[in-house]
């Protein structure tokens, strides 16, 4: 089990030594029952850090933000930032390192092990409590969630409310770290792609109908893009701002401009957006499940990425974020790549 005091001690040490600029970790949220990300610059505030199964966010996103901020500054502070990192988040850091987006010296990783648990899914918990409002969540022995509801306290085993991605987790222990806390216990899931296989077993028509229904809900708030640590492009194909309209822009230039994906949140445009996002994340998505968690319309976006993760594993024996030395999936090839589908 991760010793929280140990985590605080390590975080405090690097912060006090001035080795890192700040520590990104989890604190208790004032607005919800789940943890909230926090940026700690004051060693005194390290005391507020927590680590429990409510720490759902993938903090790797903030490393990307930090890099973008640094690019804007004239004299940036080049010290690394410390980040509390779960197994899945460490895979995201691995992908960023593999793509040479960040340097290893840019981050100080406080690796925490999920061991045999993971993080909880708030929606699953709400379902378990049959819609009863719950207050503060505590954990006894880290095996049960103790929720205070209006009808007293209810105990639910953490295993029953684990997020879907944690059930299918392939890296419960960080793969890369500077300080490691907890026990190293690399479990392999029995069926890492069970949810996708269930979808695949449907007929083509049923799947088509499913996605038609799901993707026509999308309002294109781009929350999935904003929360994704891999969506770090400065310009995105769905943004209209990457075409500057000046007084000199002729009507013809405007007319001839290629609009790959329109801003309208109609079904076909939503398909375009989600398909392109899935393709851009192939071989990079490490299944942190953030896109699905933040979706205000509960679109199972994770399936698209998970499906391609499975395909990459089956066809090309490629697992994202596992090896920083390997070339990226779509930037490499092998002579023996399958081509049965090509005529």
């Amino acid at each position: 089990m991760v010793n929280l005091d140990e985590l605080k001690k390590e975080a405090k040490r690097v912060l006090e030594d001035g080795k890192v600029k700040y520590v990104i970790g989890y604190v208790k949220s004032k607005a919800s029952n789940m943890a909230a990300p926090a940026f700690v610059t004051d060693p005194e505030e390290i005391e507020n850090l927590i680590w429990d199964p409510t720490c759902v966010q993938n903090l790797t996103k903030f490393i990307v933000d930090e890099k973008k901020r640094k690019a804007q500054q004239k004299k940036p502070d080049t010290r690394p930032v410390a980040v509390v990192s779960k197994g899945c988040d460490s895979r995201a850091i691995n992908v960023l390192l593999q793509e040479k987006y960040i340097e290893r010296d840019d981050v100080f990783i406080l690796g925490v092990a999920c061991e045999d648990l993971g993080v909880i899914d708030e929606k699953k918990l709400a379902q378990k409590l049959k819609g009863k409002r719950f207050g503060e969540l505590t954990f006894d022995d880290k095996k049960n969630v103790v929720a205070t509801t209006t009808d007293g306290t209810v105990k639910v085993p953490v295993k029953e409310v684990l997020a879907e991605r944690c059930v299918e987790c392939q890296a419960n222990t960080p793969l890369i770290y500077d300080v490691f806390l907890g026990e190293e216990d690399r479990r392999k899931p029995d069926a890492p792609f069970a949810s996708v296989e269930k979808m695949e077993s449907l007929s083509n028509k049923e799947r088509g109908a499913f996605w038609q229904e799901q993707l026509s809900k999308c309002v294109r708030c781009y929350a999935c893009r904003s929360t994704c640590p891999m969506c770090y492009c400065d310009e995105c194909v769905v943004d209209t701002i990457n075409f500057a309209v000046t007084p000199d822009t002729t009507a013809q230039e405007k007319a001839l401009r290629i609009k790959w994906i329109e801003r309208a949140s109609t079904k076909s445009e939503n398909f375009g957006y989600h398909l392109v996002r899935a393709i851009h994340l192939v071989g990079r998505c490490i299944d942190c499940g953030e896109c699905e968690r933040v979706c205000p319309l509960d679109i199972p976006i994770r399936f698209l990425n998970k499906k391609l993760e499975k395909t990459a594993k089956e066809l090309f024996d490629y697992e994202p974020g596992m090896d920083t030395e390997k070339p990226a999936l779509v930037a490499s090839f092998k002579d023996e790549d399958p081509e049965e589908f090509i005529r």
Binding site: R207, G208, G272, T311, R343
Partner: protein, 140 residues
């Protein structure tokens, strides 16, 4: 009698092999269905998945990506990258419910005019019973 459905096919042909192959079919006066809209690209490896999604969005009933045989790429390895990428796009399109027959890839060299006509003929034959593609098509 109702008119028979004529599928629209968008074909991305690489400049060095497939496009020359289709030219050969043309100048040799080989007969093949007129359902194809050929688009010349510099290499099959330059075909972005975005092109494919957009072809479907703008009403294509089928999309063909065609390039040089492995080892014959003008840019040495472009078609190897294409092979990987197209395999992934194909899986994805199938997963979201597009009929797998609607998206095909082929290797056609500059000398294979006959093969090009066969690919198109077979593609049209496959698409006819499927009817118009409406899954990814933009609503009118």
């Amino acid at each position: 009698m109702a008119e028979e459905f004529e599928p629209k096919i968008v074909a991305f042909l690489c400049k060095w092999c497939s496009s020359a192959g289709s030219d050969l079919a043309g100048v040799s006066r080989m007969q093949y269905p007129p359902n194809v809209v050929p688009i010349q690209v510099m290499c099959s490896g330059s075909v972005s998945p975005l092109y494919i999604f957009n072809a479907f969005k703008k009403g294509a009933d089928g999309v063909l990506v065609s390039g040089c045989h492995p080892g014959d790429c003008h840019y040495i390895e472009g078609n190897y990258y294409a092979r990987r990428r197209i395999a992934l796009v194909k899986e994805l399109l199938e997963f979201v419910g597009l009929e797998p027959e609607r998206f095909q890839m082929s290797w056609v060299s500059a000398a294979e005019g006959t093969k090009y006509t066969e690919v198109i003929k077979d593609f049209v034959d496959v698409l006819k019973p499927l009817g118009p593609q409406s899954h990814l098509r933009r609503e009118q």
